[in-house]
């Protein structure tokens, strides 16, 4: 059989279109490189930032927070009312919202998702964030009532977090244990495609999405067709990926590279100081080796946060002496002058006086107990550097801290055990209440209260702060908790990290959205320059 010339032309055309199609599609795809993966993508079973980053894109929350981290905006609910006693919240859902599989969203899905959050059977480490729930019920298909037993001034803010993501009941039940591992049916601007743990998470545009929060410029479906969240553990590799255009956007750029990236003509760096992210090392206060508050205080004095901020992070971060930023809501300014700052001599004197004597290898001991706390940290460049710097500082006062690093996929479960004496962690928050309720409630042992800080006074004050109906009571309750835990030296605060997002100039300017440190939030406004 012979082909006519016409046929050949058509063939060439077809071939060229076929060749061009992936090129066009590629133009609407981005790869985001990041340091670690999450252990799962179940909103109630992971507290990882890596999970929040993807969940914000896969699903929606009832209400949302604007990039200023202060103003509440619409989410799946277009409006809401709060009863005068602060106990009943009524949410009115938007019409025409559908899940990724096309099924329409109803109030039942909202009720089921939020009830699962607080259900003791879920044993969610973040259940406290939902307040003291009496019942969440559907009044009709588009109205949800959320009833509390005590007022919770932070409820609406907490409902904007990824933990309050609404998802499809049927698919979640069908997936069972695999929910958030093999699939997730949400209402977000992107849909789950494929997750290869510790490698990549691929999500695709939801073409029907028209119910995004009103503060976004884009009120339709996302501009990007496909997003690949790629795990790249090495800092340098991430930096190079961005410079060479293998990745278009990331917030995981090392401090050392920021100046260089700013000077790179094809890369733009934006910064946000609107929310807080603090790095610290915590003590398991009931472990023999760190049970003595003097030891913990001395270790606080030994660590040189300023040197760390300057030398390891090139001045891009702010040294921390307080457990939460001194600029955060409800910080107790009385503590400003009492914070433990770098003073090696004082630390050594304190340990001498407390009877901790140096052995032949320079490590102190008392009654046969050597000061060799075991610290669990995340594997990866950030914690490797921090932990080694702390280790060297502590060695100066005769504390021989031992470091054990775990990959993020196992670290979370190892950090829920009682095997270690110290641990490295970092966390996002917007206020004292947000941070303190997370870490210092007795019921939050063994995780996220990995310190085993069990104190009735703390619990009472936290409850008082959480249910306070006026600003003064809330601030003073949280202020007292701050005083208690700082005095007990339960942590070594290390540094406060602002958010940097670096993106290639092929992309339109990005507005950082610092909620839970997720940076890119829904990704609705992410787009390439025309």
């Amino acid at each position: 059989m012979t082909r006519t010339p016409k046929h050949s032309v058509r063939l060439v055309l077809a071939a060229s279109t076929a060749l061009m199609l992936p090129a066009l599609a590629a133009a609407q795809e981005v790869t985001i490189v990041r340091e670690v993966d999450s252990n799962n993508y179940d909103p109630h079973r992971s507290t990882a930032r890596a999970a929040a980053e993807v969940l914000f894109m896969l699903g929606d929350t009832l209400v949302s927070l604007e990039p200023d981290m202060q103003t509440l905006s619409d989410g799946l609910a277009h409006s809401w009312e709060v009863s005068d006693d602060g106990l009943i919240y009524t949410f009115h859902l938007k019409e025409g919202v559908t899940f990724c599989d096309g099924k329409p969203l109803t109030a039942d899905d909202v009720v089921w998702s939020l009830s699962r959050w607080v259900d003791p059977e879920t044993s969610s480490p973040v259940a406290w964030r939902a307040g003291d729930v009496v019942e969440i019920r559907a009044v009709d298909d588009l109205t949800v009532e959320y009833e509390l037993s005590a007022p919770f001034s932070e409820l609406l803010y907490q409902l904007t977090q990824s933990f309050g993501t609404i998802f499809d009941r049927d698919s979640a039940e069908a997936l069972g244990e695999d929910f958030g591992i093999n699939g997730f049916n949400g209402t977000g601007p992107f849909c789950w495609v494929d997750w290869a743990p510790r490698d990549r998470m691929v999500i695709e545009r939801n073409p029907n999405y028209t119910w995004g929060p009103s503060f976004h410029d884009n009120q339709g479906p996302a501009h990007l067709e496909r997003i690949t969240w790629q795990i790249v553990p090495e800092e340098s590799t991430r930096t190079v990926a961005l410079i060479t255009g293998q990745s278009q956007i990331t917030q995981y750029v090392p401090a050392i590279a920021i100046e260089q990236l700013r000077a790179t003509p094809t890369v733009e760096v934006v910064q946000s100081d609107e929310a807080f992210w603090t790095y610290f090392m915590g003590f398991k206060v009931d472990k023999d080796v760190v049970a003595d508050p003097v030891v913990r205080q001395a270790m606080n004095l030994a660590v040189d946060q300023e040197a760390m901020a300057e030398d390891l992070f090139f001045g891009m971060v702010e040294p921390a002496f307080s457990y939460i930023s001194q600029a955060a809501l409800d910080w107790n300014p009385d503590l400003d002058d009492r914070l433990l700052r770098h003073d090696v001599d004082l630390a050594n004197r304190m340990l001498d006086e407390a009877g901790w004597e140096r052995g032949s290898d320079g490590v102190r001991a008392r009654d046969g107990l050597e000061l060799r706390p075991l610290a669990y940290v995340f594997a990866g460049s950030t914690w490797a550097k921090i932990a080694e710097a702390v280790q060297a500082d502590l060695l100066q006062i005769g504390v021989g801290m031992e470091i054990q690093a775990f990959d993020a996929t196992v670290a979370w479960s190892r950090l829920a055990t009682q095997e270690f004496d110290m641990f490295g962690m970092s966390f996002p928050y917007i206020s004292a209440g947000d941070a303190l309720n997370l870490y210092f409630r007795s019921e939050n042992t063994p995780t996220p209260n990995r310190m085993n800080w069990i104190d009735q006074m703390t619990d009472d004050l936290l409850q008082a702060g959480k249910t306070a109906t006026d600003d003064g009571t809330r601030a003073s309750s949280y202020g007292e908790v701050l005083e208690i835990v700082h005095d007990a030296a339960v942590w070594i605060p290390l540094y406060h990290e602002p958010m940097f997002i670096a993106h290639t100039t092929a992309m339109a300017p990005v507005v950082p959205h610092n909620i839970y440190g997720a940076g890119l939030y829904k990704g609705l406004d992410l787009r390439f320059n025309d």
Binding site: S236, T239, Q260, D311, E388, A389, E402, Q404
Partner: protein, 295 residues
């Protein structure tokens, strides 16, 4: 049949002195040996000659080596990301790396050769031992290291154990093949005939006739073991911080590759030099000692 035994017994005595001369006559080998000796000496004397405490960090981070613009004589090879002196860390790191390599190769070599010799000596255990060795051969050393570290936690000892286990099968194979040919010799039969005990036959006749060939193999293996050990440490399975180990130092330097390449490059070069020298010397040793190659 030309045999090792004949050559060994007949020709070794007059040539014994020439052994060293032959080795040193090979210029590459002589140079390799000299460098290796210097490295071993430096590592052994590390606590005496290191200019700084290898674990003490300072505010002078990422200082370049002395031959670069901002370099200083205080830190000849510069400092790492934590402000620790690179030269001191290289000396201590080489020490750890060499200890891992030497201990692993000796332990693995001894166990492996014994297994191989016994298997050749006692024919009835031969099939079982060799199938076991086949099984061990199918385990890559890195995988074995990962498994051991998963069980015992990271540290120098699990890495040594992993490397030793990885050395056993190769050594057993080689030792067996050498021993099998020795076992066919008449003097073994003669020994049996005069009623020598198994033990005497094994140690006095079999082992002595195999040991030099096995030593050559072990010396050749040394470079590989160092390399795998460094790879395991690079993966974060070996020495734990603040201890220094060359592979681990190279890994720590990765983060600074774009800004202070010396932190990763210097330990990598050190590994390269050690392995290269070990291989050259091993090769030369084989040329000099292996009777079959000497013809």
């Amino acid at each position: 049949m030309s045999t090792t035994a004949e050559i060994d017994t007949a020709a070794l005595a007059p040539r014994r002195r020439a052994w060293w001369q032959l080795l040193l006559a090979d210029r590459a080998a002589a140079l390799g040996l000299l460098i290796l000796a210097l490295i071993v000496l430096g590592a052994a004397l590390a606590p005496l000659i290191a200019p700084h405490n290898p674990y003490a960090s300072s505010r002078a981070v990422m200082l370049p080596p002395v031959w670069e613009a901002r370099g200083t004589w205080t830190h000849i090879l510069g400092t790492d990301g934590q402000g620790r002196d690179m030269l001191s860390r290289i000396l201590y790191g080489t020490r750890t790396t060499l200890i891992i390599g030497v201990v692993a190769v000796l332990v693995g070599g001894i166990f492996g050769s014994l297994l191989g010799l016994l298997s050749a000596f006692y024919k009835r255990i031969d099939p079982y031992v060799m199938r076991l060795v086949d099984m061990m051969l199918s385990f890559p050393a890195i995988l074995l290291g990962l498994a051991l570290v998963a069980v015992f936690g990271p540290g120098v000892v699990p890495v040594i154990v992993a490397l030793a286990i990885a050395t056993i099968p190769d050594c057993a194979r080689i030792a067996r093949s050498i021993a099998v040919s020795v076992m066919e010799q008449e003097f073994i039969e003669a020994g049996r005939a005069v009623g020598l005990s198994d033990r005497a036959l094994f140690t006095r006749y079999l082992m002595r006739n195999c040991v030099s060939s096995i030593m050559i193999f072990i010396s050749l293996r040394f470079g590989q073991v160092i390399l795998i050990g460094a790879a395991l440490s690079f993966l974060g399975l070996g020495a734990r911080p603040p201890a220094a180990e060359l592979g681990m130092m190279a890994a720590q330097g990765r983060d600074f590759l774009l800004f202070a390449p010396h932190i990763a490059v210097i330990p990598s070069v050190a590994i390269f030099v050690i392995v290269l020298c070990a291989n050259i010397v091993g090769d030369a040793l084989r040329d000099v000692l292996d009777p079959r190659l000497r013809g």
